[in-house]
């Protein structure tokens, strides 16, 4: 190796060493655009905190427990609103293609602040307090969620294909938008099917 080649090796080595030494400061100044996907999770679990044994065949005055939870991967602490809604098979669900929430009014709601990378989970206790069942239709007039009683007045026709009076308890996730200073539908919802029985 001649002197010129040695000088090149020396200069390159020094430059690499300088970059290593300056790396902590460079990391504070230079921000590389990250390809990290920002999203939120939303789930509903059964009474034993597993994705099984969800309440399905429900009766008047029986109490059922489920868990609702969400996870924040938005890169910063987020402020969420979780609306609890109740519907029959014909009433509208949220339209995730157009990011539109269900027009049904919320019954119960949760407001939660979740740190980035963390999760939030709550138990939800519900029961049907008043319902009428006829031959081909059912009518649920009052339900209780976490001991708060709501008048719902939702009827359901007999589903001959699946053999039942089907209702749905669903959860819509909303995210607080700092720019708009209001909650916006976060395009996520989960649900459980309920079959009203005698």
């Amino acid at each position: 190796m001649n002197l010129e080649e040695c000088r090149t090796v020396f200069a390159t080595g020094s430059l690499i060493l300088m970059l290593i030494v300056a790396a902590p400061t460079l990391s504070l100044i230079v921000r590389f655009p990250g390809g990290i996907e920002r999203f939120s999770e939303l789930w509903v679990l059964g009474p034993d905190l597993m994705a099984q044994e969800y309440p399905f065949n429900i009766q008047v005055n029986s109490t059922y427990n489920i868990f609702v939870g969400m996870g924040n991967h938005m890169g910063a602490s987020s402020y969420y609103l979780l609306d609890v809604k109740f519907r029959n098979q014909t009433q509208p669900l949220p339209d995730t293609l157009n990011s539109k929430p269900s027009p049904l009014p919320p019954l119960y709601e949760y407001k939660a602040f979740v740190k980035d990378g963390e999760t939030w989970e709550k138990t939800l206790k519900f029961s049907v307090l008043e319902a009428l069942l006829c031959d081909d239709s059912a009518f649920v007039s009052r339900i209780s969620i976490n001991d708060v009683v709501f008048s719902v007045n939702v009827s359901a026709k007999w589903d001959s294909e699946h053999k039942g009076f089907y209702y749905q308890l669903f959860f819509e996730l909303w995210l607080y938008n700092l720019t708009a200073r209001s909650f916006q539908f976060h395009n996520r919802f989960v649900w459980i099917w309920l079959n009203m029985t005698v």
């Binding site: 040695c6 060493l17 300088m18 902590p24 709601e109 407001k111 708060v148 700092l178």
Partner: protein, 171 residues
């Protein structure tokens, strides 16, 4: 024994009170609703600004876990206020919203203090890191310069100590 005129008067006053009472009760109900609505909206604003303050503190590098736990408590009160409001329990709605505002206000103030503290620590840390890096770079430049000079000297010495070899020509 009640006379006929007294009885008539009683019936008339009963009928009148039946029609007049809603005039007084309805505005009271409406004002309760308005009051609850205003307290809830105020609580919404306070929670939102507390959340913003917490986010700023978080961006400055503060540990906001404790503040978020308290904001969650405030959020529970606010959600409860909305549920009570929709059910027509305006008194409970206003009470829950007031509790929410109280907690959020204290969180907001604390978040502001934490942000200033964290920002100061961050600036200090930044300068410390920058000074460290600068000293390191200068040390590397100086070390490289000295190292190169030593290497070059040794290289020339080694070259100068080499004896030229004379090989016999075979032509």
């Amino acid at each position: 024994m009640i006379s006929m005129s007294m009885l008539k008067l009683l019936i008339v006053s009963l009928v009148l009170s039946t029609f007049i009472s809603p005039i007084f009760v309805l505005p009271a109900h409406a004002s309760g609703q308005e009051m609850a609505s205003s307290v809830i909206n105020q609580a919404e604003d306070v929670v939102a600004s507390a959340y913003e303050a917490v986010l700023e503190a978080e961006r400055a590098g503060a540990n906001v876990s404790g503040l978020l736990a308290r904001l969650n408590q405030a959020g529970e009160f606010l959600a409860g206020a909305w549920v009570a409001f929709r059910l027509g329990d305006f008194e409970e709605a206003a009470r829950s919203a007031s509790l929410c505002s109280e907690i959020s206000e204290s969180v907001k103030n604390e978040a502001g203090e934490m942000r200033v503290e964290a920002y100061g620590l961050r600036v200090k840390g930044f300068w410390l890191t920058m000074t460290g890096s600068l000293v390191g770079v200068v040390a590397v430049v100086f070390g490289s310069f000295v190292g190169w000079r030593v290497f070059k000297r040794r290289y020339y010495m080694r070259v100068s100590r080499m004896k030229p070899e004379v090989s016999s020509g075979e032509s």
